[in-house]
């Protein structure tokens, strides 16, 4: 699986959405599934997918599909 596929998969499985839902417009609280519990589920999925452990500040900054890619760069992951 490519890095992009792993990244997308994390969102798809965390929120039970289709791939078509992914994109820059996807942000925290824009879908019912991306609430507080959903957010931590996403964090868990990304950490598992890329074997990283995210800092609190980055978890807070991870407010959108687009932003997530920027944050993962800090952990050596290029999506």
């Amino acid at each position: 699986m490519s890095t992009k596929e792993k990244y997308d998969n994390a969102f798809i499985e965390s929120f039970s959405v289709e791939a078509s839902a992914l994109g820059d417009a996807l942000e925290y609280n824009t879908i019912p599934e991306w609430d507080s519990i959903g957010h931590m589920t996403l964090v868990a999925a990304l950490e598992d997918a890329f074997s990283v452990s995210m800092e609190t500040d980055d978890i807070i900054e991870l407010s959108s599909y687009a932003k997530g890619k920027e944050i993962l760069k800090k952990y050596g992951v290029e999506v």
Binding site: P32, D35, A45, I59, S63
Partner: protein, 350 residues
């Protein structure tokens, strides 16, 4: 205030997540939440009430704000990140509720309110959101208004509850449709209809299994059986928006069990007694006499609360209910004392 605006909550939540993953997906002895019955007065007369509010039990008692502030400080230090304020019906006394929220300092917790929704109009929803409530669980028993109203003892209560959830969503708090599921309704078409309604509206469905406690003491026939539990798992897989505290909410496995949350989620009564769970009326301390840390440590020294249980002790473990939760007259205000009900060999010493 969303969770992303509460750094302290994110920090504690992450700690919880890391612990779960290192502990084989189990909750173990990691502190998670605090459920607080702030006051037991209620405007409804629900048949299944576990606090005996319909009987008028202790409806005037309330924990004072200074004590709540102290509990909140202790809870924060222990890593507790969730706080569920419940009653009774706390929206009967909104001034008391908002004073409490101020004392708690809601920026430190993922805050929720459990309510029957009767007094939750748009204005109240806005005030709750402003005060730092992240989520509101509104209890609904049926897709049919008449059935819900009859169960809750007040005509019109279903309509108010349904509207309440819409207000919660409109102001940006997380709307949770709270359902009590027992053997009497687990596999009914009605329950499926309610789950579908919740999904269609964009809510989260929170399942509480029925427990033979409070108004339903000794009614073990209401407890879910294996077929009921399997059906709930099927509903979880079907709708994807279904939670139970005993289920692991993280990860891809829709059948993953976190474990019974006794002591991980402490239940504090208006008298300051601390029980292991809202439905397990066993007392492990009192906030006026011990610290939360001491109380938690004692709670986890008891093997039933320390060891992993894949069953909800109060709602699924008939053996536990029969052995420890069947003393006549037990209630949240008259709990059995853990030191009296468990034999010494069940309590780790030292």
């Amino acid at each position: 205030m969303p969770i992303l605006a509460k750094p302290r909550v994110v920090e504690k939540f992450k700690s919880f997540l890391d612990y779960i993953r290192k502990n084989d997906g189990h909750i173990g002895t990691k502190q998670r939440g605090l459920d607080m019955n702030l006051n037991n007065a209620c405007n409804l007369r629900c048949k299944h009430c576990f606090t005996n509010s319909p009987k008028g039990d202790h409806v005037k008692d309330v924990l004072p704000p200074e004590k709540i502030a102290d509990i909140a400080d202790q809870a924060d230090k222990l890593g507790i990140f969730e706080w569920d304020l419940q009653g009774g019906e706390l929206l009967l006394r909104p001034e008391m509720l908002f004073e409490t929220l101020k004392a708690i300092r809601t920026e430190r917790f993922y805050m929720y309110l459990t309510t029957n929704g009767y007094y939750l109009d748009q204005a109240m929803a806005e005030k709750l959101a402003e005060a730092g409530i992240n989520r509101v669980s509104v209890s609904i028993d049926s897709i049919e208004a008449k059935e819900h109203d009859e169960f809750r003892g007040k005509e019109g209560s279903w309509a108010k509850a349904i509207e309440a959830l819409k207000h919660v969503k409109a102001v940006g708090m997380s709307p949770y449709l709270n359902i009590t599921v027992g053997h009497y309704n687990a596999q009914s078409e009605e329950i499926d209809a309610l789950f579908k309604y919740s999904k269609d509206q964009g809510y989260t469905t929170l399942v509480n299994v029925a427990t033979p406690a409070g108004m339903w003491q000794k009614m073990s026939e209401i407890m879910v059986d294996e077929a009921d539990k399997a059906h709930l798992i099927q509903l979880r897989k079907k709708y994807k928006n279904v939670l139970r505290n005993i289920w692991n909410p993280f990860g891809k496995d829709d059948e993953a069990i976190l474990g019974c949350n006794t002591v991980n989620r402490l239940y504090v009564t208006p008298l300051g007694d601390v029980l292991t769970c809202p439905y397990v009326h066993i007392k492990i301390g009192n906030v006026y006499q011990q610290s939360l840390k001491e109380i938690s440590e004692f709670g986890f020294s008891i093997k039933y609360f320390r060891e992993h249980s894949a069953l909800c002790l109060a709602g699924e473990d008939k053996d536990f209910v029969s052995r420890f939760l069947s003393t006549p007259g037990t209630s949240i205000f008259n709990p059995v004392d853990a030191r009296e009900i468990f034999p010494p060999e069940d309590i780790r010493q030292g």
